[in-house]
Amino acid sequence: MTATTPALALDDITCRFAGRDSGAPYTAVANATLRVGEGEFVSVVGPTGCGKSTLLNVAAGLLAPSSGIVSVFGQRLMPGQGVNRRAGYMFQADALMPWRTGIENVVAGLDFRGVPRGEARQQGEAWLRRVGLAGFGDRYPHQMSGGMRKRLALAQTLIMRPDILLMDEPFSALDVQTRQLMENELLALWAEDRKSVLFITHDLEEAIALSDRVVVLSAGPGTRPIGDFRIDLPRPRDVSEIRMTPAFLTLHREIWSAMKEEVLKAYERQKAA
């Protein structure tokens, strides 16, 4: 843990949801504490349905925790005062506006901020080039492939130059090849200005290949971090090659042994339900 103020700090977060049909309330996240340092790439892995997205929504200010404190660069994020202004969020599901063309989607955030049209367009074109979509700006999302839509979403988020990037399994819907390409592109973009990243995934290999630190969550309900592993693999990395290195495999074995029990627990619970 660095001595400076972390970019994002979740302190003792608990999220309880009212039970369906007057059933018992469901505690998705219990007493979770998590820190992301400035310029640090942190991945959170955990079994399916363990409340990873809940944690991320809390960090984004989209969801108020039942108890606990969220701080952004030392400032407390008050519930009911809107979203986390310093964060960009990349969603798991498609979040592009289908009625806007590629370029209009990319500049949406600048529009909302009131940036003049011409200037926004210029920046938008530049970002389309950076994510490899130059010349596709006048296409609608439904005319693009899954990989192109993800790149568009990435440009849409990054154009706002957020200090913290929150990513919720952004590449889980892509095929393996496209996914590794996107992971490399993400690392290249991230290396340019090293923002803080909180990356949620269920894929341990993806987590290790991308991150500086991997946090393992326990099986739900009452999810909380149970392991914290520093990934000191050299950068820049190539995600498809680094998977073969002995150092990667050692880390994978170590983290998997911590995770395995939780995955099995989650599986048993789902079978029982």
């Binding site: 929504n57 960009g88 979040a95 506006m97 909302f112 439904h142 005319q143």
Partner: protein, 265 residues
């Protein structure tokens, strides 16, 4: 092109059949006892067309048509705007929608055409009683579609726009409205027809102008040909208005994927 030809063929066949069955003495009677009875009850196509041509040549129809179209257009526009506004308001405010729920359901299940005589008393026999009837019919169709449309907006889309810094007003303009638009246009096609129903039924119940008034008068003198002529003219204009809505829809909804669209890259 082929499609259009087939459509016109069906129209031609229907008119031919109509002519065949109603022309006195053309084919032996199989239902009516006298030759001219079929023509009396169902009119004759050539005479119906003659009436229509006379209307347009003499210019007699234009005043009536103008009134009916004006009533329709006003009913349509006012009803749609109200439907859109109230639909947005109730869809976005949980409390308001919970409070208004029984009233909306009540007004919707009421057979609103029975309001026509009351509107005639309130607004007189001029165009406004017809407009009012059209508004009550159009409002609910548009309202329910907008309400549904806004409710079905993807929560991810809203969350994404909020993270990108959209204010409430910007959310309304760039997420809720465009998202509800495809529902709105689906309802506008129905609404055009209902606005016509409002105008014509209103005229039918009491007026001094309009195509509904022409039909009412012709019916009073058992002039079936004129009744059919009025119905045909109304149908054609309803089709034209529906086409106009379609054109506007096509302009505004270019982003929607079409079934034949295969140019993915």
């Amino acid at each position: 092109m082929r499609l259009r030809a087939l459509q016109i063929l069906i129209l031609g066949l229907l008119i031919a059949l109509w002519y065949l069955l109603t022309k006195p003495g053309l084919i032996p009677n199989f239902y009516f006892e006298q030759d001219n009875r079929a023509a009396f009850f169902f009119g004759e196509p050539q005479k119906v067309f003659q009436v229509i041509v006379d209307w347009f040549v003499s210019g007699e129809i234009f005043g009536h048509l103008w009134i009916t179209l004006l009533e329709t257009a006003l009913g349509f526009v006012i009803g749609s705007v109200f439907g859109l506004g109230v639909g947005l308001w109730l869809a976005l405010s949980k409390t308001a929608s919970a409070v208004m729920d029984p009233y909306i359901k009540g007004f919707n299940s009421m057979p609103r055409v029975v309001l026509a005589p009351i509107f005639a008393v309130w607004f007189g026999l001029g165009i406004w009683s017809k407009v009012a009837l059209g508004v009550t019919l159009v409002f609910f169709v548009v309202f329910f579609n907008v309400y549904q449309g806004v409710r079905e907006v993807s929560p991810t889309l809203i969350a994404n726009a909020r993270m990108l810094g959209a204010s409430q007003r910007q959310l309304l303009r760039s997420i809720y409205l465009p998202s509800a638009m495809s529902w709105v246009f689906a309802s506008l096609h129905n609404a055009v027809g209902l606005a016509f129903v409002g105008a014509v039924v209103g005229e039918y119940l009491g007026s001094a102008h309009g195509v509904g008034y022409l039909i009412l008068q012709a019916e009073g003198t058992f002039d079936v040909n004129t009744v059919f002529a009025g119905i045909l003219v109304l149908t054609v204009f309803a089709l034209v208005l529906d086409g106009l809505v379609g054109v506007i829809e096509g302009r505004l909804m270019t982003w929607q994927p079409r079934a034949s669209d295969t140019e993915k890259v």
